[in-house]
Symmetry: C2
Subunit: 426 residues, 2 copies
């Protein structure tokens, strides 16, 4: 701990929140100010934020803050009164999705969005069984925690996990079509076991870029075949866009990268630039079916501030061409990382899309032994050098780069220079 | 529908949200501005808000808006970095609770708070069975919807409903101690059935003032006996303070009115004056037990804006003595309603605490036949006269008064005058 204030905050935190409440870094950071891609600590140090996707259009973006303030000063009620904001926003949001997805429910968090998606899928199909991948995290309500196994088997009869699709450490050493078919067979077996147990099949939920799994390159056609397998069995396919969505991949939605159209799309984190805002979108048939059977109302979901903030985030994305920036700066960063990989054999693979990149670190390029403690050390060393990154994946050996979207070439250069040094000094 | 804009908004809403999405009043209101206890519609009409508890310290309170803006312009991250705001707020909040309740988890909504309370209770006890009342509503996640029966039996094996405690239309016509014992017997039978079915017993959750049930006057000692029955069986008692809390009853918490100390307290609606903010509070033992077993993190829960806004709401409550105002203005309003009751036999009973009042309307003071259509009509007639109220209770015949807390005598007078006229014109 670098200073007495931080030590004191940590001890107050332990008393108020409990020990083991999640915290970043071996030496936790006491951050006091944010601006664009920068975070400023209490000791005056400046950190390049390459991690926080919630501050999507930049920390404390003035356009978003102004929209929030203006609306908060004018009116903030809820959706039981008529109001333009949330309709303008909802129409704009659904317009970015496939034409089949035209209705939306606003909520406050990604967990709430995924929880409602499960309710919609279960009510629609009459089945309870949901498939997820074995390393995923979709949130933390009672129902959503069941589909967030963190590498463990779920102990709910309503959930089956399948191994996440991975072409780097492939199932049974398979390749190409045989590999994707092997993963699809796992899905089919899970569906069959739901039918056998009488639980019935409701659907499958994935992050379309498998963010928590370390952004694996997918076996060919895996996503399309998954959707088909789910649909053939009468289930619904849910794309959890809480991490992938809102232009970060260089497309508006992660499922566009995968070339599929899901039945239900859930959203959260980047949506309100830090204002608690989430949503579930689906077809009119699914949504009206839900509304006909369930009295759903979310006190804060879709309130006038949510609409104002949501619209402001889209405004800034359009004005500053942030989705295009994710493509171009993302490509630039990726090229730079490829150049580093040529010099540093620890870099086993560079993965991801746009400004959502993963760097798999291995001890040996043949055995692919995960360089997990090295990854932890690099994350902390980068922090000491003023650059905030983190790590993900099955072995916690994948460096995670997911900066605010105004991340520019000069920031990419800083990451590359420092990563080069940290990797070289090992 | 009063104007073309409202008609158009309603049709856009049906297309985007679906038909049957909850909306207030036969002629929905298109509200464009709020200030203190007043709401202003698009047609220029001003409405006295006697209903919205979310705008707890008043619509668009400038102190709260300023705190939100200042923090949103400075920093908005999450609890994986150290930050003072949420610690200051959390310590201030737990200081208002019984000394046994010292830890808190911040979330974004009342639904999330109740969902986590269920997780904590189930993990701690090892049982799954939860008791709630038959008319309650605790929120809308998959797990919380199970304990929100709206008058129907829950079809979850993990939930049993008991008839809500009511001394106006008492169970089996009983009175006094015999009545409260009859309700307690229902609790004991539910616990026994959980044990018999192998589900095990986790606890009981109630709104301590039974807000959705129409604020019934409770049979003597009902709450104390409930807590004892739950504790005797090894369960936890959860007080859902989402509607009752934050000074509205003239005490800080609804469970103080009831004279009990719950094991878990959940909070939401009024907490952030419209900013999505909720919390679960419990003993260090319960919370640390949860933290030891569950990696719980809420991206937006407890972020620096949540802390700033939460603190500002408490600041305004203290500065303007709003809890005292709930007592004095609440008593004034209640006296005025008692005077109306002498002239209007339709008023069967006046109930509640502080600025949370219910007016039971009956067609006949002997049969107690609920005046439900009359109540609906009165709500709409009051709206036409510029006063927003609503109705609750088993028969939807209880007028509901729950205004923003800066509600003053002059506002109470407006309610009384207009209610007198509307009741007199029937």
């Amino acid at each position: 701990m670098s200073d007495t204030t931080a030590r004191e905050l940590l001890s107050r935190r332990d008393r108020l929140f409990g020990k083991k409440t999640p915290l970043f870094y071996e030496d936790p950071l006491h951050i006091v100010r944010g601006e664009g891609v920068w975070l400023y600590a209490a000791d005056g140090r400046r950190y390049l934020d390459c991690y926080n996707n919630v501050a999507h259009v930049g920390h404390c973006d003035p356009t978003v803050v102004a929209a929030m303030t203006q609306q908060a000063s004018t009116l903030n009620t809820h959706t039981r009164y008529l109001h333009e904001n949330i309709l303008d926003y909802g129409e704009r949001l659904t317009a970015t999705l496939d034409g089949s997805i035209s209705m939306v429910i606003f909520v406050c968090t990604g967990s709430e969005a995924n929880d409602q998606a499960l309710r919609i899928a279960r009510l629609h199909t009459g089945g309870q069984g949901v498939i997820c991948t074995n390393l995923t995290y979709h949130g933390n309500t009672t129902a959503v925690a069941e589909i967030s196994p963190h590498g463990e088997e779920s102990n709910s009869p309503n959930v089956r996990t399948i191994p996440f699709p991975d072409s780097y450490r492939p199932l049974d050493g398979l390749e190409g079509k045989a590999l994707s078919d092997a993963y699809i067979d796992k899905i089919k077996a899970a569906i069959q076991s739901f039918e056998d147990s009488g639980v019935g099949f409701a659907g499958m939920i994935v992050c379309p870029i498998f963010a928590n799994e370390g952004l694996p390159n997918l076996p060919p056609e895996f996503m399309k075949k998954s959707v088909s397998a789910v649909h053939d069995a009468g289930g619904l396919f849910i794309a959890d866009e809480v991490q992938a969505g809102f232009g970060r991949t260089g497309t508006m939605w992660g499922h566009e990268v995968a070339g599929i159209v899901p039945d239900i799309v859930t959203m959260g984190k980047p949506m309100g630039n830090g204002f608690p805002l989430g949503a579930v979108a689906a077809s009119a048939e699914l949504m009206q079916g839900f509304r006909d059977r369930v009295m759903y109302f979310n006190t804060f979901g879709g309130n006038p501030i949510a609409g104002a903030v949501g619209n402001a985030v889209l405004d800034v994305m359009e004005r500053d061409k942030l989705m295009e920036n994710a493509r171009t700066t993302g490509a630039y960063l990726r090229d730079g990382l490829a150049a580093l990989a040529a010099r540093h054999p620890m870099i086993g693979e560079i993965r991801g899309h746009g400004l959502w990149l993963g760097i798999e670190l291995v001890r040996d390029s043949n055995s692919l032994e995960p360089a997990d403690t090295e990854a932890r050390d690099i994350v902390n060393r980068m922090k000491e050098r003023g650059i905030l990154i983190n790590r993900i994946g099955e072995h916690d050996n994948v460096l995670k780069l997911r900066p605010p979207m105004p991340f520019a070439r000069e920031h990419a250069d800083l990451v590359l220079e420092n990563l080069d040094t940290v990797l070289g000094n090992r």
